[in-house]
C-alpha cells in the first residue's frame, strides 16, 4: 500500500460508500450537541418521524449562551432559558446522554469531550460548531458542521463529504520564554492567512508540537479553522495515551491496550504525500497578538500596526484602513502600550487548567490595573474544581479578577458577558471579528499569560517584561 498520512488513514477507515459523484458517505463515531445549533435539527427529525441512529455515540451539553455568573440564581434571559429547556426536552425525548447546567461535568463542548475521554485517536468527531477542530489534537478527524448536517448525522450516523486535501505544517524548535501554543498558532495564521488551509486538513507536526502537552495541541488545532482548514490534526503519541488513560469514557484494561495498539498505527507513514507543506522555525516567534478584525492580523507584541500607505493593492489598503478605524488604532503605532478595558481568559481555545496556571503565574502577587474589568471563565466544572484545589481561584480573585462558571461566555457574546461599544479587550479566545464579543467591541487575541500581563498594566504588554 502507498504511504498514507494520518488523515488518509482515519478517512479511509470511515468511508461507508463512495457515491457516484465521488462524495464519500463517512461514518461518524462521536457527535457532540449543544443548545444553539441543535434545536432545528431535532425539530426536523421529529417532523420526519426519525430517531437518532446512535444516541449512545452522542453527547449533549449546554455551553454557548449559559450565564457564567451565580448558577443558584434563575436564568434571567427568557430566550436562553428557552434554548436550554428545549435541549433538555430533546435529549429526554431522543434519549441522548446529557450534562446539565448544574453538573460538574458541564462545560464548553470542546473542553469536556477530551476531558471525559469521549474524544479518542482515530475517531471521526463532529459537532455543530466550527471549533470542533479542537478534538484533532487527540489524533481524531474532527470538524464543525451546520445544523442540516447535524440532523443528517443524528438520523444516519454518517455525513456526506468530499475528501479534503492534505496539508502539513511542521513547526521545529524549542519555543522561547513565554511563547505558548497560542502565540505560535496566531503567528502561523498570520503567515498562511485565514484562507491558507481552505479545503485542507492540516496535520501539525514537528518537534515543537511533539513537545506540547495536550492542552497546547488543543489550542493549536482549535484555531486550524481560523486558517480556513476543515480540521487540524496531531499524531497520537505517548503524551496522548497518558492523557486518555483512566478518563471516564476511555477504554479500560485490555480494551485500552488494544486501542493503543491501533492508535500507534495511525501516524503518517514515511514518504506520504502532502498537497501543501509549510515549515516554521519556532525561534522566529515571540509573544504574538492580533491588531485587526481578522485572526490573520497577527503581530509580535514588539511590532507596529501596519500602515495602509505601504500597501499597493487598493482593496487591501481599504480593508486595512477600515480595520484601523474600527479598532481605533493609528497606522504605524506600536501595539504595546495600547490601553485596554477588559481582559477575558476563557473559551475553547484557552480555558484548560494549563491555561489558567499560565495566567495565574503572571498574576500571583499582582493586581488588575484600575479601570480594567478582568474575568476568568474556566472551560468546565472540572477545570474550575481543579483550579480551586490548586488555589488558582484565590490568586485571581485577590488580584481583582472575576472567577466565573464554565461556558463560552465572552468568546462570542451570546450570553450577558459582552463588550460595550468601543471597549477594547485582551482576549484568549479565537475570533476578533467585528462585533464578535459585542457590537462595536474591539478584540485583541492573546495567550493567557499575555492576557494576564495586559490586566496588570492596563494595556497591551509584552509579558516578558513582567518575568
Amino acid at each position: 500500500m502507498n504511504p498514507r498520512t494520518l488523515f488518509d488513514k482515519i478517512w479511509d477507515d470511515h468511508v461507508v460508500e463512495v457515491l457516484p459523484n465521488g462524495t464519500a458517505l463517512l461514518y461518524i463515531d462521536r457527535h457532540y450537541l449543544h443548545e444553539v445549533t441543535s434545536p432545528q435539527a431535532f425539530e426536523k427529525l421529529r417532523l420526519a418521524g426519525r430517531k437518532l441512529r446512535h444516541p449512545e455515540n452522542t453527547l449533549a451539553v449546554v455551553d454557548h449562551d449559559v450565564p457564567t455568573s451565580d448558577r443558584d440564581l434563575p436564568i434571567e434571559d427568557p430566550e436562553c432559558r428557552h434554548q436550554i429547556d428545549m435541549l433538555e426536552r430533546n435529549v429526554r425525548e431522543f434519549e441522548v446522554p446529557y450534562f446539565p447546567l448544574l453538573s460538574v461535568d458541564q462545560g464548553i463542548v470542546h473542553v469536556i469531550g477530551p476531558e471525559q475521554g469521549a474524544s479518542l485517536p482515530g475517531m471521526t468527531i463532529v459537532c455543530g460548531d466550527s471549533h470542533t477542530s479542537t478534538h484533532g489534537a487527540m489524533g481524531a478527524l474532527a470538524f464543525g458542521i451546520g445544523t442540516s448536517e447535524v440532523e443528517h448525522v443524528m438520523a444516519t450516523q454518517t455525513i456526506l463529504q468530499r475528501r479534503p486535501k492534505n496539508m502539513r505544517i511542521t513547526i521545529e524548535g524549542v519555543p522561547s520564554f513565554y511563547v505558548s501554543a497560542k502565540d505560535i498558532i496566531l503567528a502561523v495564521i498570520g503567515h498562511i492567512g485565514t484562507a491558507g488551509g481552505t479545503g485542507h486538513v492540516i496535520e501539525f507536526a514537528g518537534s515543537t508540537i511533539r513537545g506540547f502537552d495536550m492542552a497546547g495541541r488543543m489550542t493549536v488545532c482549535n484555531m486550524a479553522i481560523e486558517a480556513g482548514a476543515r480540521a487540524g490534526l496531531v499524531a497520537p503519541d505517548e503524551i496522548t495515551f497518558d492523557y486518555i488513560k483512566g478518563r471516564r469514557f476511555a477504554p479500560k484494561g485490555k480494551d485500552f491496550d488494544e486501542a493503543v495498539g491501533y492508535w500507534r498505527t495511525l501516524a503518517t507513514d514515511e514518504g506520504a504525500r502532502f498537497d501543501k507543506e509549510v515549515m516554521i522555525r519556532v525561534e522566529d516567534i515571540g509573544p504574538t497578538l492580533t491588531w485587526g478584525t481578522s485572526p490573520e492580523t497577527a503581530l509580535p507584541i514588539t511590532g507596529r500596526v501596519p500602515d495602509p500607505a505601504d500597501e499597493t493593492d487598493e482593496t487591501l489598503r481599504a480593508r486595512l484602513r477600515h480595520m484601523l478605524d474600527y479598532m481605533g488604532l493609528k497606522a504605524g503605532q506600536p501595539i504595546a502600550g495600547t490601553p485596554i478595558d477588559v481582559v477575558f481568559i476563557g473559551s475553547c481555545t484557552n480555558s484548560r487548567i494549563e491555561d489558567l496556571r499560565a495566567a495565574a503565574q503572571v498574576m500571583r502577587g499582582r493586581k488588575v490595573a484600575d479601570g480594567v474589568r478582568a474575568m476568568v471563565v474556566p472551560g468546565s466544572g472540572h477545570v474550575k474544581q481543579q483550579a480551586e484545589e490548586e488555589g488558582l481561584d484565590r490568586v485571581f480573585t485577590e488580584s481583582g479578577f472575576e472567577w466565573r462558571e464554565a461556558g463560552c461566555s465572552m468568546c462570542l457574546g451570546m450570553n450577558p458577558d459582552k463588550l460595550g461599544a468601543k471597549q477594547r479587550c485582551a482576549s484568549t479566545s479565537n475570533r476578533n471579528f467585528e462585533g464578535r464579543q459585542g457590537p462595536l467591541g474591539r478584540t485583541h487575541l492573546v495567550s493567557p499569560a499575555m492576557a494576564a500581563a495586559a490586566a496588570v498594566r492596563g494595556c497591551l504588554t509584552d509579558v516578558r517584561e513582567l518575568a
Binding site: 461507508v16 459523484n21 462524495t23 458517505l25 461514518y27 463515531d29 444553539v36 445549533t37 434545536p39 432545528q40 441512529r53 446512535h54 449512545e56 455515540n57 452522542t58 453527547l59 449562551d65 428557552h82 434554548q83 428545549m86 450534562f99 475521554g117 479518542l120 475517531m123 455543530g128 466550527s130 464543525g144 458542521i145 451546520g146 445544523t147 442540516s148 443528517h152 438520523a155 444516519t156 450516523q157 454518517t158 456526506l160 479534503p164 485565514t194 484562507a195 481552505t198 479545503g199 480556513g228 469514557f249 476511555a250 477504554p251 480494551d255 488494544e258 486501542a259 491501533y262 482593496t315 480593508r319 462570542l412 457574546g413 451570546m414 475570533r431 471579528f433 467585528e434 462585533g435 457590537p439
Partner: protein, 205 residues
Amino acid sequence: MEKFTVLSAVAAFIKEANIDTDKIIPARFLKTTTCTGLGKHVFDVMRYTVDGHEKPDFILNREPWRKARILITYENLGCGSSREHAVWALLDFGIRCVIAPSFADIFFNNCFKSGVLPIALSRDICETLMRDAESGTALTVDLVKQVVIRPNGEEISFDVDAFRRHLLLDGIDDIGQTLQYESKIIDYENRQRQEKPWMPSIYIN
C-alpha cells in the same frame, strides 16, 4: 426544501472579502429555535445603526436591492463560525444565490442544505456582475443550463457538483438519499464492532 431551477432577480453586492458568518448574523440572534425570521437581522451591524435605524447607504436598505435574491461578494465568503443561521438569515431575507470568487468550506456546504446556490466565479467576473448589478437590472441564474445570464444576454457558465445540483433541482433533502445506503451503514457498523471492540459508547446514569 424549495426547488432551485431558474432565478431572475436583482443582485446586491458587497465589495468585501472574508465576510464572516458573525457579520452575516451576529451571535446575539442565535437564540432562536426555528429556521425562520432571521432575515430582518441579516448583516445587522452593516444594515442598522446602534439604535436600530436603517443605514440609508447600505445596499440592502436601498431600492431595488431591498428585493435582491442574489448576493455577490469578494473572496472567502462565509468564513468563521459554522452557524447555519447565516444561510437561514440570507434565505429568509430572500437571497437564493450567492456568487463569490471563493467560499469558506462549512458555509459552502450549508448553502446547499437549505436550498441556496453558491457559485464560484473569478474575481474579474464577479466585478463584471457587480457592475451589472449596480444598474439594478436583473441577473438570471439558470441551474438547469449552469449559466449566469448578464443583462446584455452574455452567458457565463459555472461548475456545480452534479449530485448537489440534482438535489437542488428536485428540492430533495439528502437524508432520504443517504438512507438508501442503510444496508452499507449496517455492514460498516458490524465490521467496526469486530475490528474495534474497544470503541466506547456513552452511558450516563
